[in-house]
């Protein structure tokens, strides 16, 4: 569980003032996928960085899995991060080496490392490509590799920052299949920042931010009933179609 209790954050740099967070309180469970949405500059990435421990809140408390965060500096052991651009998060020359890198950093013995690397690659469908050089992977496969590098650390949560922005529709489907399978098999919590309407289909819990303020915390169904309060949000065509077919609001 991720729990925010009246968390506030502001940047010292005035240019980044728009990315501040104002007294955000919410709880995310590991059941289902948590979607973090909002217009550009609403504070989504700031929330992600607070969860990851990269930023320390100015006030309020953040708790990950009931463990009170005293900012011990090792939140990264519980929460993994997958960013938008896969090229900036790949370090190894081969698939296996890249997945193994976090375990090398942690000093995991080789025998255990080999098992965990194999299992992580298998979880995302890259097991047959362990020896392949990373430059032979497509954009979608690189994103799957990033997921494998995250799950090999056995995190409690994975935070994704717009992971499907650069992916084609096929790769996007594979991405969602992979992370839902990972959640089902390993019970890892998933928090996904996205602006792509195609991703909304997968969200079970929505957190919407606007100008650093949490403006919605609930289910997608509940969000749809409050669209008039979200002028920045354009509903996906699938929602509009469902409403039309139900004779409801458009």
């Amino acid at each position: 569980m991720i729990h925010f209790d009246k968390v506030t954050y502001s940047y010292d740099d005035k240019k980044q003032a728009s990315f501040s967070i104002k007294e955000a309180s919410f709880t995310c469970s590991k059941e289902g996928v948590v979607g973090l949405i909002g217009p550009n500059g609403s504070g989504k990435t700031t929330i992600a960085k607070l969860i990851l421990g990269l930023l320390r809140p100015k006030s309020g408390v953040i708790t990950i899995d009931k463990r009170f965060d005293t900012y011990s500096g090792d939140l990264w052991k519980q929460v993994a991060f997958v960013i938008q651009n896969p090229d900036n998060q790949i370090f190894g020359s081969t698939v296996g080496e890249d997945i193994a890198m976090p375990l090398e950093n942690l000093g995991v013995p080789r025998a255990e490392m080999t098992k965990r690397v194999s299992a992580a690659a298998d979880a995302v469908g890259l097991h047959s490509r362990l020896e392949d050089p990373v430059h032979t992977l497509s954009g979608g496969e690189k994103q799957l590799l990033a997921i494998a590098s995250a799950i090999v650390m056995k995190p409690s949560w994975i935070v994704f920052d717009e992971p499907t922005s650069f992916l084609d529709p096929w790769a996007r489907e594979n991405f969602w299949k992979a992370i839902l399978k990972v959640q089902a098999e390993k019970g890892i919590g998933l928090l996904v920042i996205s602006q792509l309407s195609e991703d909304f289909f997968y969200f079970d819990h929505l957190l919407a931010f606007d100008n650093g303020v949490l403006v919605f915390d609930g289910t997608p169904a509940g969000f749809r009933k409050n669209l008039d309060k979200m002028p920045w949000f354009t509903p996906p065509q699938s929602w509009i179609f469902e409403d039309l077919m139900a004779g409801g609001p458009q």
Binding site: F81, I83, Q89, G92, S93, N105, V134
Partner: protein, 255 residues
């Protein structure tokens, strides 16, 4: 992110051995004054090493092309150094062979040694010195390793930005030097910006993946052994330099 290394016979050699041999090549090249025939032998050997590294003729042409100006300047300096009025082209040619041999050896090394192997190598080489705590060592080693790997990325980014700015109408040809310098800002400013953003992303991800964290000593996924292959590799380079030395001795003492 990682540079593209080649899969070849040479890439399978223990990276510590490859590094020590590379140092050996550099030392022998500087310590012994080989003459033309000796350098021809060494150059041939380095060319074979280069070819066995999985590189193509196109790669060789690219490297030769990028080194051409340097080699030309070296040739001219060495040719004229002893007497400005008397050209010593043979000395220039020897200097070019020497430089090209070292370039080929270094390129073979870089193209067959990925980041993780470099990190392993330098950890093994520096560890016995026990000058640093191991975790601090990782940062000291990996930062220059990553920096070197960034270079092709920066070149590619430079070309991409240059093309994109040219497509906006910003000309880099047929303009005065002042205008060219001014227009260069249109490439350098975004390039530096992008590099800083990339560096921040990379630093963030490295931290989040436990790089240089406290805890047990770093381990390595890939196992590097020393066996027959390493023995053959080292002896071959040794034999090559011995043959070069002997050939020079034979030719230059025979008359």
């Amino acid at each position: 992110m990682s540079h593209q290394t080649k899969t070849s016979i040479i890439s399978g050699v223990n990276p510590v051995i490859k590094t020590l041999v590379l140092f050996g090549i550099a030392f022998l090249s500087i310590a012994f004054s080989f003459h033309g025939p000796g350098w021809a032998v060494i150059f041939s050997g380095m060319f074979i090493l280069f070819a066995m590294s999985g590189v193509t003729l196109a790669d060789f042409k690219a490297i030769f092309g990028k080194s051409l100006v340097f080699l030309l300047v070296l040739f001219l300096i060495q040719s004229f150094q002893f007497n400005p009025l008397k050209m010593a082209f043979d000395k220039g040619a020897v200097a070019v062979l020497q430089a090209l041999s070292l370039i080929l050896a270094a390129t073979s090394y870089v193209m067959t040694t990925p980041n993780s192997a470099l990190l392993y190598t330098w950890s093994q080489i520096l560890f016995p010195l026990k000058l640093f705590k191991k975790r601090e060592l990782e940062g000291l080693i990996l930062i220059p390793v990553l920096a070197i790997r960034f270079v092709p990325e920066v070149f590619n980014e430079f070309n991409r930005i240059r093309f994109a700015q040219a497509a906006r109408g910003i000309s880099y040809k047929n303009t005065s030097i002042l205008a060219k310098a001014k227009n260069l800002v249109s490439i350098l400013y975004p390039l530096i910006n992008r590099s800083v953003i990339r560096a921040a992303d990379v630093a963030q991800i490295l931290y989040l993946r436990g790089f240089a964290s406290s805890g047990p000593a770093r381990t390595f996924y890939k196992e590097y052994k020393i066996g027959v292959g390493e023995f053959v590799y080292t002896i071959s380079i040794g034999v090559l330099f011995f043959a070069a030395f002997q050939l020079d001795s034979f030719i230059f003492s025979a008359g």
